[in-house]
Amino acid sequence: MARLSVQRFRNLRQAELTVGAGPVVLLGENGAGKTNLLEALSFLTPGRGLRRARLGDLESRLPGNEGAGQGGWAVAARVETPWGAHDLGTGRDITTAPGQERRVIKVDGEFASSQAALGAVLAAVWVTPEMDGLFREGASERRRFLDRLVYAFDPAHAGRLSAYERALRERARLLREGRGEPEWLGALERTMAEKAVAIAAARRDMVGRLAGACAETSGAFPRAELGLAGDAETWLDELPALAVEERLQTRLLESRGRDSETGGAVVGAHRCDLLVHHGLHGRPAGLCSTGEQKALLLAIVLAHARLTGLERGGMPLLLLDEVAAHLDARRRDALYEEILAMGLQAWLTGTDAAPFAALNGAAQRFRVQDGMFIE
């Protein structure tokens, strides 16, 4: 990221930042707009951003901004990659009807039809305080975390996921209303099965490669052991993809009655879970101490960055919201060492300067106040 421009995004009326290749530290009080800037950055990659917000909710509501009227929020950036510089831009499509949400995407001045175009240029991974319960809570957050890791290698993954989810919602609607003819339901189940197998294959591939990268973790961060739980993911161990598709379709057909009561589907890509164990003592991550869980999460994120650098060439952006303050000094120093050794552009936020002292001279600092950034 060389240059970033954010307009009408939450409390950021207009922000322009020019940054170098190294880490960036954003310092400011709570509510100053640090996380909002990270969230704006996260929209330069596929998906729904760091907080999974509705696009309409991101519009700035600041006094004096109502008159901005027709313009929605917008984020634009100049990104330097090993293959040259690219200009990325995104924002809410203000021409869509009320109730409908769509993002417009621009790459090098041209409109792109899908978010995958962003993923082809830039990848980002984030760790936020909301992810503290990642290993303890339900599988959906872990699945989303894994999917974001996949985007860095396979930008089309986001499109397959949204297609799968749409087919899943359509089937649920038909079952709930009891009005779907069997052929219509069958067609949706076939679409779901096709997408689910492609999604499962991409997740398996990611976990396999990431497990290899995690095995090389040493020093202050624990080694994470990774696995996947899920029907399609397991069936792919022994069956070819087409056979898994058929089996999924059969299971969906058989479960229509039950699914009409629960509103979901008994099998599919939405049932998968990322399994994480502590490499040293083998305990499931959810049963480890809070500090160990944070260290495991960072170990996975750093392993993913290493893998991205090795296999894709360009490094992902690392967005670390309020992470430094919650690490002990040993792990914090180890984190900074890794970031600097890998040449990662990490964006770190915090309320106090002290935890970032070890980055003095290596990181660019901005003080954030009321949505303004002062270097």
């Binding site: 027709q70 203000i94 021409t95 995958a116 396979d154 930008p155 089309a156 499109g159 397959r160 297609a163 749409r166 087919a167 919602r169 359509e170 089937r171 609607r173 038909l174 009005r179 779907g180 003819e181 052929e183 219509w184 069958g186 067609a187 949706l188 076939r190 679409t191 096709e194 492609a198 991409a202």
Partner: protein
């Protein structure tokens, strides 16, 4: 206060696809300042279109005659029927010159979330046309979206018992495309749709 005629014109223009309030204002001003060259010819063209253009009762195409020119064209191949979502898709295929058979316009695709089921689509006449012994092949030229694919699966299933070959448009390497730059999904689709060289 009732809107002025200019406001009414701008409101109507702003409802057109691709035009927001700003471009609607610009278009209205353009038309009003070019009354003879643009505004009146456009008004006349719109009025004639409203009066004369109707959907073809056979295929769903829009034309000033019913059946439409394509359905009446005896030079076209009666054995091939191409199913498309919208009239715009039919126009695109006609522009390409790739297909010389007849068309069937569905008027959309299945979408439970948008409240569009089989009963909202132009399907009854499709089932009838598919039973015509002259028809040997039905080409499903539907978009590669979730709804397009689901509709294609649905039609393939419903047409499966008939003595007619059901085919779909190939999906894969775009013309002028470099394999190196294709995403995995497109490459997989291209591989499964491969054919003898």
């Amino acid at each position: 206060m009732a809107p002025s005629e200019i406001d009414r014109l701008i409101q109507q223009l702003a409802r057109l696809p691709g035009l927001g309030p700003r471009s609607a204002r610009r278009t209205a001003l353009y038309l009003l300042q070019r009354r003879e060259q643009s505004l009146l010819p456009l008004a006349e063209a719109l009025s004639r279109a409203a009066e004369r253009i109707r959907p073809c009762h056979v295929c769903g195409n829009l034309d000033d005659s019913d059946p439409c020119r394509i359905c009446r064209d005896r030079e076209r191949d009666l054995s091939a029927l191409c199913v498309v979502e919208e009239v715009g898709d039919l126009w695109a295929l006609e522009r390409s010159g790739a297909f010389k058979g007849h068309y069937h316009v569905l008027g959309g695709c299945l979408s439970a979330l948008d409240g569009r089921g089989p009963e909202q689509l132009n399907l009854d006449s499709l089932w009838q046309r598919a039973r015509d012994p002259a028809v040997k092949e039905i080409v499903l030229a539907l978009s590669a979206t979730v709804d397009g694919q689901t509709t294609a699966h649905y039609l393939a299933e419903r047409l499966a018992g008939l003595p007619v070959q059901v085919t779909r448009l190939g999906q894969g390497v775009p013309v002028g495309g470099d394999l190196d730059y294709l995403d995995d999904g497109t490459l997989l689709a291209a591989f499964s749709a491969r054919r003898p060289a």
